[in-house]
Structures are given as structure tokens and as C-alpha cells.
């Protein structure tokens, strides 16, 4: 039987690896400021000159870890809702969330929600570049 959405058990090593990744990543972005140190730039931005949906995330993470919500929002406005959604999905998928909140899990795994989320990301992608070119 192939493992399904709800039948697959959370893998302890996977959860541990995610936890280590989050702690190490947060530590790096807390200590170093990507606005000062030349952190790896976005290849998409380097190649095309257009911002991608993830541009500004590194600077925004640094600001967020120092409690500077406004700066984080200005660097990448989609980061805070994206992090909230990732945290919710992680809880639902890798912990016991899918048993306790099956309806929420079902909505967030559904085609309608994911297509909607993709539409938001693409509109944001177009919008932030349009904003830079026409309004700044």
C-alpha cells in the first residue's frame, strides 16, 4: 500500500532535521545582516533584473528576527503570511495536526486553495515589479 496523505506517519528524523534546519538558519540570519554582508544574491534577479517572489526574504528574515516588523514587511511583504502558512502546514503534516484539525488540513490540501495561493503569488510577483517600475 502506498502511503497516503493521512496514513503516512511523521518521521522522527525528518522532524529533527527540520528543527535543526530552522535553528541553524535562524541563527545565521540573526547574526549576519544580509543588507551589509553580501549574502548570496537571487540568481533570478541577477539574470533578469526583475524581482522574484522570494527577493528580499533574507533581509526580511534578519529584520524579523530582531523584531523589526515594519522593515521585514518592506523588504518582502509576503514573507510573514508565507511563514505563518508554512508553520501551519508543518504542524498539520508533520505533527498531530491532521488528526485534530482534519477539516483545515483538507482545505489546505485541496486544489482550490492551492490554485488560489498560486494566483496570489503570481499576482504579487507581477505587482511588486510593476510597483518598482511605475511608482518608484
Amino acid at each position: 500500500m502506498r502511503p497516503g496523505l493521512l496514513t503516512s506517519k511523521p518521521n522522527r528524523w525528518k522532524v529533527l532535521a527540520i528543527a535543526i534546519g530552522v535553528v541553524v538558519g535562524a541563527g545565521l540570519f540573526y547574526v549576519f545582516n544580509p543588507a551589509e554582508i553580501p549574502f548570496p544574491p537571487c540568481p533570478f534577479y541577477k539574470l533578469t533584473g526583475f524581482q522574484c517572489p522570494g527577493c528580499g526574504t533574507q533581509r526580511a528574515l534578519h529584520s524579523l528576527l530582531h523584531g523589526e516588523w515594519e522593515e521585514a514587511f518592506l523588504y518582502n511583504p509576503i514573507l510573514i503570511p508565507a511563514l505563518a502558512l508554512i508553520a501551519l502546514l508543518l504542524y498539520l503534516n508533520s505533527f498531530d495536526g491532521k488528526k485534530r484539525f482534519p477539516t483545515i488540513h483538507r482545505i489546505l490540501s485541496g486544489s482550490a486553495f492551492i490554485w488560489g495561493m498560486l494566483a496570489v503569488i503570481i499576482l504579487y510577483w507581477i505587482g511588486r515589479n510593476a510597483y518598482r517600475f511605475f511608482l518608484e
Binding site: R2, G4, P43, C52, A82, L90
Partner: protein
Amino acid sequence: MKYCSTCGEANPDNARFCTKCGYEMTSEPAPQPAPATTPKKPSPPYDQMPATYLWQSIVVTILCCLPLGIPAIVYAAQVEKYFMNGNIDAAYRASRNAKNFTIASLVTALIIYIPYTIYLIYIIGAATSSSPLLPLFE
């Protein structure tokens, strides 16, 4: 209950002739009546739906600066639709593609970022300790 070998009609066990077509009943077993239509394949229970890998695809789209996460989200969106239509193989294929695209974008990011980071650490280290190799990077 036995069935007429000619027309398939159900008859009492002791009947010698079929009550419908009148042919003599034989002791042969009745032919299986052919199913009228193939029944629609029922969807397996919802908890067997394959994973969408949604959080992983958001991570590679928003948290690491590569738009390769977009196709991963496109595949993630297809999983439930296929599954609900009873197209289980397509649902698993979409799930696998979503997973593969998140891995591909993560690997691409690492291939670009790891050498860059090592180079950066070397530059910073060399600048602070005046390494004899520093002129190589200037």
C-alpha cells in the same frame, strides 16, 4: 433455484422446462450473466490521498530565491482534483512531480549558494587575518 442454459431465466429447482423460453433445462451450471456496465471505479478513502508537498514548495518559492518552486505548486494543486475524480495514478504522479520539483530547486540553490558562501567566508577571513592568498581574490 437453477437457471436456464438457453436464456438464463431463473427457474425452480425441479423444473424440467424453462418457464420463459420453453427449452429443456439441463444440469449445466448457468452462464454468468454479463455485467451490464462496468461500474465507476470508486474513490478510495480520503486518507489515502497522496501528499501535496505544499509547505516544501512554498519554502523553495519564497524562502530560497528561485522561482523553480512555481511548477511544484502547480503539481501540488493537481493532487486533490485527480484523486477526487478517481484518477489515483495521476494523483500519485502529481504528488511525485511536486516532490521532485521541490528537491530540484533546493539542489539548484545549494549548487549556486554553497560555493558562493565558501568563497565569501574565505574573503572575510582573509581580510581580517591578512592571508597570503588574499591577492588571488582581488
